[in-house]
Assembly symmetry: C2
Homo-oligomer: 305 residues x 2
């Protein structure tokens, strides 16, 4: 290796993934590969299969002073949130557990207790997994599930003119919500049917990073109404914009029928706000998606827990 | 945490997994959960879905002086070997990549080059994945695929009286085979149809550990014919027995029709031996499966690369 070669910190996560996936060939059974919240593959006539993998790393996504059952809960909940973003239903999970040999079994039992509880809540089977030695604790969850073939949602079909909405409130998740958030699974399926969004995704790395991702995937620019962004109590816009780990849904819908959509939403989910925060606009207007990059980057040198 | 609590090194991998999976509830769609090479879940009338996850950890499963394309190759090949053990076909893979920010992009590109090449060879789509920061490099592969619902194989239906066979030769994989082994996918499907084994699995942790696992899962004891175990060139029986990472198939078949099976095997796979190495016997005879434990344990204090 020469010292001139780029490092992960220099290239960043999104570019890395694009670089690595270059040259990956997919056959006709793959409807959507890397780049969405879940991969979509052909299964039966009425249903597609959704596939997703997601990892939690000690001292990156959690610390060892976190109650272990909440670590387990979070590991599963993050993936459920990805299925929510597709309008789908998670069904079967596999758990990869890397841990130092010196770790206490009781701690891992606690993690599994948290996983079992949330899996039961969302009707997910933990069908297997694997354990291995490692320097620090790492949990990787892979999940499969289903989505009606007629109503699956990507993040890439947003149109200029769409209004952009979010569920819930954003910001300050480090104070606790990042461990206890409620994946918007029912809401995701409801929106897939009733809002018929052009694009939807969950906000995991922060609106600052995820809204540009949605716009970039959709080939549009975007406008954000700073005053409209629903902030969690005690949070500033900057926190709502950049903190990440909100696990709310971000969607782009045709503005026609918006009023009726918001009314029906309030009837269906009276406790959870659904808020217009901006819109997608044609390239040349608004913010270009590649200029904004202040959310969480897994490899950035400045990213710290 | 008290200092009295057991550690992973003390409890060992198999017991840990049993302890963690205790209390995991599965619904009727799960045909086989944790404990086999792949999980088996209901899909269509004629086909089940197979699910598997598997991790490679730096300095446990490989070192950084390994050519990166071989690391990528091994990560995929190990999972293909698990599908082989079920008589199934892998279809879609997801890659979780944990790496230190200081790692060079070129090294990861090399890993992906190796993964893409073997994925293409076996008709597997790399449909997505995830990247995260970590202290050391870790690759976790999850894969889904299919198996005919009539011919899927577990490791738990071996019967006392079955003969035990292995494909290929065992031992000394650390000299290179652990990176370059050929998953016995075609052979696994052939055996599922022509040998109709009662039980089959791949040898990843060593015959010493995997043969007792097959017997334990099947509720039998076993006998091993030391002189019959096919050793790789330059290897002793001890190496063939304990080294691990052979990725050959281990199967238990009804002794009736054995001669004909061996003849048809030689016609189908003239270059690869299929060898009788022992048999399953009723409890009370032969070796009890829980007494033998000299293979690789991922958490054992004595386990070193």
């Amino acid at each position: 290796m020469t010292t001139k070669s780029q490092t992960l910190a220099e290239i960043g996560e999104d570019k890395l993934i694009r670089r690595l996936m270059r040259g990956v060939k997919l056959d006709g059974d793959v409807i959507a590969g890397a780049g969405d919240d879940c991969a979509v593959v052909r299964s039966t006539k009425n249903e597609h299969t959704l596939l997703k993998t997601d990892a939690l790393v000690q001292d990156v996504h959690f610390t060892l002073d976190t109650p272990p059952s909440l670590i387990g809960r979070k590991a599963i909940a993050r993936v459920v949130s990805d299925f929510a973003a597709m309008g789908g239903t998670p069904r079967h999970a596999m758990v990869t557990l890397v841990a130092p040999p010196s770790m206490e079994v009781a701690f891992l039992s606690g993690i599994y207790r948290g996983m079992r509880a949330i899996a039961k809540e969302y009707g997910i089977n933990i069908v297997g997994g694997e354990t291995s030695r490692g320097l620090v604790l790492m949990l990787s969850i892979s999940m499969s599930g289903t989505v009606p073939s007629k109503s699956w949602l990507s993040r890439s079909e947003g149109k200029a003119g769409d209004v952009v909405l979010v569920t819930g409130r954003l910001g300050g998740s480090i104070k606790g919500k990042h461990l206890k958030f409620i994946p918007r699974l029912e809401e995701g399926r409801w929106l897939a049917v009733h809002a018929r969004p052009h694009a939807m995704m969950d906000i995991s790395d922060g609106l600052a990073k995820d809204l540009p991702r949605l716009a970039l995937a959709s080939g549009t620019h975007f406008e954000i109404n700073v005053a409209a962004v629903p902030c969690n109590r005690g949070c500033t816009f900057d926190q709502a914009w950049g903190d990440g780990e909100d696990y709310e849904l971000l969607l782009a819908v045709n503005p026609r029928g918006l009023k009726s959509l918001l009314r029906r939403w309030r009837e269906a989910f009276p406790k959870l706000p659904l808020t217009v925060i901006g819109r997608l606009v044609p390239p040349g207007q608004g913010c270009p998606p590649y200029a904004v990059n202040t959310g969480w980057d897994h490899f950035a040198l400045s990213a710290d827990v």
